[in-house]
Symmetry: C2
Subunit: 221 residues, 2 copies
DNA sequence: TCGATAGTTCGGCCCGCACCGAAACGTCGG
DNA sequence: CCGACGTTTCGGTGCGGGCCGAACTATCGA
């Protein structure tokens, strides 16, 4: 059965939930299945099926990371099309869909956002951290650095790696995860360098926190 | 129920028949309900319902003319959107949807197309025809002109007006309809100025036809 | 005034598909 | 290896909507 190409695209957009997924993804970041399910108030299985269709059609791409799978708009051509489509809707003057990217936020059990990316980069530059293509290692001086601020850097009894890199989709760059990444967040919260905000993953640096981060990692916050 | 604007547009495009209607209308011309129904091989009632939806949404506009209603893409913003959407489909390099406009074709019982528009304009310029906003009248010299080439210009027993203007949607300009318009086409075919082609409304000027039209109306064909 | 034709509305049928819960699968961390 | 958790697959249900034919309206031309 030969279908009209307009109808093919239209069918993908026609469903309200699917359109909601695309709209949510239009913030330029990548999201997990369950995040999206919560956001749209539908079951995880439903979202999974929708995402599969969007993926099959090439509108959405996926990147696996551990037991999470991050979904995002496939490329800027798709984004442009959706943007222009949304603008055409009610002759609305194109509401700016891009949201402000959080400077600091949490990503599961570790710190993410702009500041986390900069800390990660500085750690690499200063040879506290060695990052090759696939693997990340903490150097001896890195071990000392984290140990000094109260992060447990003992080799884990568990299989959990000390350090792991995690891709920050709002930045498209890596930041620090793994046991040390989690420990760093714990320490920051414990010492009130950082306090949680109302949003689920929102955090904010305190005044003393900014000073401490500057002193510890040598970056300006 | 609040719906996602993407889903609103998507729903309109999602149906294959509706997408086919829009694709057909993307030739830039206006078409009637029954034309479109024939083209898409569905019933007239089905097309009518689809066109109503497209009209309600503002994607398609309609203009009534006698017992015909001509449907067209509402404005160039919609056309642009559809064009870009179609181009996004399979990364196809945007097939040129605009078809060549027929130089000469029939419109029901009279002549239409580029040549008909030019004849009409020349008739007005030469004062054979007086056209004000709403009405069109044949002058005495106009009566003679058509009488000379064998078109019956006797006042009609029927209510049918001698001359009427008909909007040519491929040209967005008027041409001659009414009893004289119909008679002119008859005469042209009878004298073999014009011969029918294989297409339902396709006609072609003969060599002698070109000469006769030039001589009669003073236009170059 | 009347038949022919274009278009719309209405009623009813039926298919496609969005949805959910349950179960299966894969990865993480203990 | 095991429990926890994120994700996907599967089966079943219900509803929206596209389709047609028939009836109705409007216009044209005789």
């Amino acid at each position: 059965m030969e279908r009209n190409p307009l109808a093919v695209i239209g069918s993908l957009l026609a469903d309200d939930t699917r359109a909601g997924l695309l709209t949510a993804l239009m913030d330029g970041r990548a999201h997990t299945n369950s995040e999206l399910a919560r956001h749209l108030q539908v079951s995880a299985s439903t979202v999974s099926e929708h995402l599969r269709k969007l993926r099959d059609s090439g509108m959405v791409a996926v990147e696996a990371q551990g037991r999470h799978r991050y979904f995002r708009i496939a490329d800027h051509r798709i984004a442009d099309m959706l943007e222009s489509l949304g603008a055409t809707a009610l002759s609305v003057p194109a509401p700016p869909v891009a949201t402000a990217v959080a400077f600091a936020r949490t990503c599961y059990d570790h710190l993410a956002g702009e500041v986390a990316v900069r800390i990660y980069g500085q750690l690499v530059d200063d040879r506290y951290l060695i990052a090759d293509d696939e693997q990340v290692h903490l150097t001896t001086s890195g071990l000392e650095l984290f140990s000094d601020i109260g992060v447990d850097v003992a080799p884990q009894a568990s299989r959990r790696p000390l350090v792991r890199s995690c891709l920050d989709w709002s930045q498209r760059r890596h930041h620090l995860a793994g046991a040390v990444g989690a420990g760093l967040l714990d320490t920051m919260l414990l010492n009130r360098w950082l306090v949680r905000q109302d949003g689920p993953r929102k955090v904010r640096f305190t005044r003393s926190g900014r000073i401490a981060v500057s002193a510890t990692f040598g970056i300006q916050v």
